[in-house]
């Protein structure tokens, strides 16, 4: 009796599974138009993002000089990277981390504070302030480099030098972008200057979006200071924008790999003071043509970016109950 019941149950479940499969195919066929719509993007996305990531992981386990076919090298690249590549361990890695840890959170907090201050200003004047802070981020790469040259120029005609000389803070002109002592600081300042980009705009919009009635309600409930308002209302309310901005901040911090070379005009930077993982990658990949090793470096960089993103996701990401 019970065996019969079981049999029919298994039969039923296989039938169900079959049904589900045909249902799924049915569903897919029904939404064929949707697939048609996403097809171009998915194609491009696979070609230029998915495949490169897979290729990077694949190549990182090989020796590849772009002329001969890649030969399998196991963990060799990573071993070399962690134990013998002194330039990586002494310069590229610490430089990248210091740079990212200052520019990322620093730029992020600065963006929030600025966005909040700007949001307090009446509507008609606001846009001009937004523009003033956003405009520097329009100057990518080359332009940024040219703009900062006269500012940081090492002789006494450099604006910064002449300004500080005038104030008597320094006695002789400093080589802001060539002296290894100052290069990192210059890089951080220049990048921070141009970091009020999309994330900053998202924050401005996010703060403006907060329902004004919430503030009034909160005042009745006993919130006293503006700081409390920010902490209990503004930030929770604009969490999605905060998360987006944090992703952009992290990406921006790791993206600016060439600032050092651009500012100092030297490759590699003087005494590797501005040497980043990114510079290391292009050094191995595009000058020495050791693609396998360069791929291993890329994998390390990607993992670092991913790790920091997970971290910010945990801080600002949507929680289960929201």
């Amino acid at each position: 009796m019970s065996g019969k019941v079981q049999l029919s149950q298994t039969q039923q479940s296989t039938r169900l599974r079959k049904n589900r499969l045909s249902l799924m195919i049915d569903e897919i066929w029904k939404s064929r138009v949707s697939y048609l719509f996403i097809a171009p993007f998915v194609l491009a996305f696979s070609l230029f993002i998915i495949i490169p990531v897979i290729v990077a992981f694949g190549l990182s386990f090989t020796y590849f000089n772009t002329i001969q076919a890649p030969s399998y090298a196991g963990w060799e690249n990573f071993q070399y990277l962690l134990s013998q590549d002194i330039i990586f361990l002494k310069h590229a890695l610490p430089n990248t981390l210091t740079f990212a840890l200052i520019v990322g959170p620093g730029g992020y907090i600065a963006a929030f504070v600025l966005a909040w201050l700007i949001a307090q200003i009446p509507d008609r004047l606001r846009i001009w302030f937004v523009l003033a802070f956003y405009a520097p981020s329009l100057t990518g790469g080359v332009v940024m480099n040219i703009i900062w040259q006269p500012m940081l120029s090492g002789d006494r005609i450099g604006y910064l030098n002449s300004f500080l000389l005038g104030l008597g803070i320094i006695d002789e002109p400093q080589l802001w972008v060539i002296d290894p002592k100052y290069l990192m600081i210059s890089m951080v300042v220049v990048t921070m200057w141009s970091s009020m980009g999309v994330g900053f705009l998202a924050m401005v919009a996010g703060i403006l979006n907060v329902d004004k009635q919430l503030y009034e309600a909160a005042r009745i409930d006993g919130i006293k200071s503006r700081l409390q308002e920010i902490w209990y209302i503004t930030i929770p309310y604009m969490k999605p924008q905060m998360l987006f901005a944090s992703v952009m901040a992290i990406v921006g911090a790791f993206k600016a790999g060439q600032v050092g070379e651009q500012l100092s005009g030297m490759k590699p930077t003087p005494e590797y003071a501005g040497h980043m993982i990114h510079s290391h990658i292009s050094d191995y990949g595009l000058i020495r043509y050791e693609m396998g090793y360069a791929a291993a470096l890329s994998v390390v960089l990607l993992c670092m970016i991913y790790f920091f993103n997970r971290l910010s996701w945990r801080l600002f990401g949507p929680k289960g109950d929201e």
Binding site: V33, P40, V42, I49, V55, L59, I127, P136, T139, L302
Partner: protein
């Protein structure tokens, strides 16, 4: 007078006045390098190397621009070619990115189909895949595709724009479903819904992403460095970077470089100024929920 009247009409309390003051100061500080470079571009040589340096130009001249164009004329490949390359690549690139991204954003936002959630989460993760970190594998892929030294080599690396899809999709989420259903009852096909309803409503998002894409492609030198070996296929910003490289260690061409920087910078600024309101409206929906 008009401006004064306008300002008077806006009521400010004390904190706001203080804030305005603070922000004006901060904003001026941020704009300082830009003001410098603008003045720099107009300075004659005698003023460029004046000590002590002055911010503002005394006798504005266009000689830097003429010098710049002389440098351009004397280069092996005519500069008009670089400019043409840049304009073509930027125009085609922006158009393609917008079309492809909008097409993808629509079903992601309004349809339910197998894999849509997966695709969106992959897009979210890929927001953080900095192209700079993937130079080497991308080089391998582009080389395999055989599009080195073609315009496609400039454009294709940009078209998988996760940020663009993400921004347009978030904006589309707020379009009421009833609107689409009503159109479908009236007999509209998906394509009509997309073209007649979604695109017009999402114009702010499209304008915004167009600006952002324009900025990236216009300023990008990496495709020229990585994928172009033929000099006549390289772009304007790349050419600028070759004439201004090592600027830190030399005095010549500082004025020309400043002029060049203005030529590169002004288009992005103007485009932003034209679309600024739409940008803020779009960014309100940029949150990751």
């Amino acid at each position: 007078m008009m401006l004064l009247k306008k300002i008077k009409r806006i009521k400010l309390d004390k904190t706001q006045i203080f804030l305005m003051f603070l922000l004006t100061f901060g904003g001026a500080f941020m704009m300082l390098p830009l003001i410098y470079i603008f003045n720099h571009a107009l300075k004659p040589y005698s003023e460029l190397f004046l000590f002590p340096p002055r911010i503002f130009v005394q006798q504005p001249t266009l000689s830097n621009f003429t010098e710049f164009f002389i440098v351009l004329r004397d280069s092996v490949v005519p500069t008009s070619r670089y400019l043409f390359n840049s304009l073509l690549v930027t125009f085609l690139g922006v158009t393609l990115v917008i079309v492809i991204s909008a097409l993808c954003a629509y079903p992601l936002s309004k349809h339910r189909f197998y894999g849509s959630k997966l695709l969106f989460s992959v897009i979210l993760v890929s927001l953080m895949f900095v192209p700079e970190a993937m130079e080497i594998p991308r080089y391998v892929v582009i080389a395999r595709l055989g599009i080195m030294d073609t315009y496609l080599g400039h454009i294709f690396p940009h078209i998988a724009a996760s940020v663009t899809v993400f921004l347009i999709k978030q904006f589309m989420d707020q379009v009421p479903n009833e609107l689409i259903e009503a159109a479908k009852i009236d007999g509209a096909k998906e394509w009509t819904v997309f073209m007649r309803i979604m695109i017009p409503i999402c114009m702010p998002a499209i304008a915004t992403t167009a600006i952002l894409t324009f900025q990236t492609i216009w300023n990008d030198t990496s495709t020229s460095t990585l994928f172009m070996q033929n000099d006549s296929m390289k772009t304007f910003p790349f050419f600028l970077s070759t004439i201004t490289n090592n600027l830190a260690n030399q005095v010549a061409r500082q004025g020309a470089a400043a002029a060049a920087a203005m030529i590169m910078f002004l288009p992005t600024l103007i485009v932003f100024l034209v679309f600024q309101r739409k940008v803020i409206a779009t960014m309100a929906h940029s949150g990751i929920k």
